[in-house]
């Protein structure tokens, strides 16, 4: 694949923006449009852009994340979020909220649904990224 320098530059600028945007989408999901899915997808679009710009091998070197393993951590988090409800409320997946008020920042809303959404975020991110990178690998081999 031919990758232009300009494209690489754009991607480098875009990446942090996309990543922060995706986290924001995930966190606000409970109240406004957004959530783990969308967040994860946006984050993975960053990885996709990187893959297109640098090729899968370089992305692996730079990110040092094994997405195939990461997704199982995401699944563990999802299960954990379910178990929180089971242990505290006695109902699997029951919502459990913890809302400490922090001086100067305001009220934080932490809860098992948020944990759940985080798990979903991680899974969607890592699944999409690993699929795209596997496919891109194939393209690399083809070029050889």
């Amino acid at each position: 694949m031919t990758r232009s320098v300009f494209f690489r530059f754009v991607v480098r600028v875009m990446l942090p923006v996309l990543f922060i945007f995706s986290l924001m989408l995930m966190l606000r999901g409970h109240n406004e449009a957004g959530g783990g899915f969308i967040g994860g997808l946006v984050a993975s679009s960053g990885v996709i852009l990187m893959t297109l710009a640098y090729g899968p091998d370089e992305v692996r070197q730079r990110l040092k994340i094994d997405f195939l393993r990461l997704m199982f951590f995401g699944l563990l988090i999802v299960i954990l979020a379910g178990l929180v409800g089971l242990i505290i409320e006695g109902e699997f997946l029951a919502a459990e909220w913890w809302k400490p008020v922090l001086q100067g920042i305001g009220q934080l809303e932490l809860g098992s649904p948020l944990l759940f959404d985080m798990g979903v975020y991680i899974i969607v991110l890592s699944v999409t990224s690993s699929i795209v990178m596997s496919m891109a690998d194939e393209g690399e081999r083809m070029d050889d």
Partner: protein, 799 residues
Amino acid sequence: MLLFGIVFAPAVAALVLALVPRSWLARLTPIVPAAIFLWLAATQVGASEIATAQLSWFPSLGVSLSFFMDGLGLLFALIISGIGTLVLIYAGGYFEKPADLVRFTIYTLIFMTAMLGIVTSSNLVLLFVFWEITSLTSYLLIGFNHENADAREGARRALLITAGGGLALLAGVLLIGVASGTFDFLTLLTNPNVLRESGLYTPIALLIFAGAFSKSAQWPLHFWLPGAMEAPTPASTYLHSATMVKAGVFLLARISPLLNGSDLWLYTLTIIGLITFVYGAVIALRQTDLKAILAYSTVSWLGILVAVQGAASEYAAVALAVGVLAHALYKAALFLMVGNVDHATHTRLIDRIGGLARPMPVTFAAALVAALSMAGIPPLLGFVSKETLNAAALYDGLPSLLATLLPVGVVIGAAFTVTVAFRVVYDTFIKRAPADSDLHPHEANPAMLVGPAILGMFSLGLPFLLAPVLDPLISQTVTAIRQTPTSIHLHLFEGVNTPLIMSIIAVSVGVLLFIMRRPLIRLLQRMPEFDPTGIYQWLFFKALPDFANALTIRLQNGRLHYYMMIVFASFITLISGIILLARISLLNGDVLADFEWRIAVFCLFIIIGAVGTIFAPTRLSAIMIAGIEGSLLSLLFAIYGAPDLAFTQMMIEVVTLVLFVLAFHFLPDAFTGSKGRAARALDFAIALGMGAMVTVLILAAQANPVAEPISDWYIENAESLGQGHNVVNILLVDFRGLDTMGEVTVLIVAAIGVTALLRFRPSGQPRGQYYAKEAPAPLQTELASENDDDDEGSEGKSS
């Protein structure tokens, strides 16, 4: 409760033997049936009470482990245990390898339990269970020497025929249950007309006939029995002559009080039985294998045992009881004799042997007695049997057709039986051996002589013990068959009467035929034979596989296109059929109420895009158009108040496009596979049909709501229960979190799948290139032909 012991003792012995497979233990097992025989003979013969035993088994179905020992069961149980003892003793000398002896003994003991179960069960389903187990053990015994293809074939044939009959019997038994509400024989007997009065009498009777006839080798289902002669001789003796093949006869006798008396019963049994009798006797004569001769003569005798039951007279019952006993005694002896001859000369072909009387005197003596009994020569038991049979054939309650047919048939069949009996003994023992034969015969070992000797003694001795031994037993049996208390007094000689004259005619003719047997046999062998084996072979090994092959190759033809067409066509047919038949309304008035041009045009664009994917000239353009479709759809979602949906759809769209491009960027850039115009038109019709169905389904669902949606609850409770404002998100992570859990699982599995598909390849499939350059193998038309491309291990290789 002793009945349980009697029935299951052999099976327990088999289990012990299976756990301790030693030949000395196998040699001890005859003790079990011997004990059963002695106990039965000592306590049950002449007993006034019928022993019963019952245990609950499957009460919901009305099946219990209930046994009873009436006269009919007793007669058979004595034969089963008595001959079983002798056969097991005989086997101890017959088998050379200890492992074979153990295996044979295990099978035979299990068979013994099953057979005892058949004759003592009072529950019909229980009877059927045992019935099928005898078929299975018979299968294993016929295929005992399974290295031999004939043995495998014979075993399969026997099982297919008897299992087929078994299925009919099962249906019959279940129909009895449906008609009467019980499977218990003794309960059924309290109202013996219950089946005759139900509308199901004819099917029940026919199904029971099918079961009994297949088991008892009645013409034209008899042909499995000669094939069963591949079994080791002790098994043939026991199963295919003395006991199992009589199970059908037993079943008819057992069920007779419930079903007899109709024309169906009378004519079917008499005519089929008579045909079998004459056919078997005649065909037996043309055989040259000693076992085949005996097998056909067994078929013949089973025929007459069925035929006499048609009229259900007292004479018939007596003839049946004495006939079963006499036949078991002499035929078992003859079979064991064949085993000895086979052992000594390594051939069973009657043309290849002769003059065995001197080297094998004991065997000869036993065989002679048995053959004379078979021929019905006084004063042997066979003679008594023949007399009772003739009397039954002359029963004056028969309709005129049968009144002539039966006696004539009996005499003809009997004459041939005489000839066969004489031929077997004469040609084996007395006639000089052929000049070119190289026989070194020797007398069999003692274990193999016990059986024939004892059986001979019974055939010879019983006629002189009629009053003390046989009369009570036969009386009990007849009482059980007819369900009316009867007292029978048998006589060896009753004066000169019609039965005796019939006997004399039969013997005379038989002797005459024996003298001219050589031309007769040659004539018979030249005659065209109606052999159902050919039909069976054609049906099961030609027609059936050919049809199955042709059908399967047409249906399962490997073309995904055709599979999808069938699925879609089924969908269209079923759904449109139901909508038309059930008159589902499609329009509820306001489908156009909130019509907006803006949206209509928008929808039109989507439709144009969809059609565009079809006409897109290249792969890339098709993918791009599909991407635009997704974007339009997400806009539509946005317009109709679904921002999450719109956003997700949009993002997914981008990722999908990237994947498409990555995956198919390197493939040859041309669509293939388009076929002719007609095929295209059919595809088009199916596609349009599916689309129309979707449209109709949406309209139909909206036009016929039956309940209010539950969704208001979510909006009302989202804030209080879900602690958030975005109801869709709360649904996903709170209310319906399990869905989401399943969904992310799908994603994870998909990621594993993609990685595995792309990375894990069999050796020989290099990555990143094509290896099937040329066209694949041409269509196969023969399923049976070997396709080595598809062989295991080489599946990955390039074609």
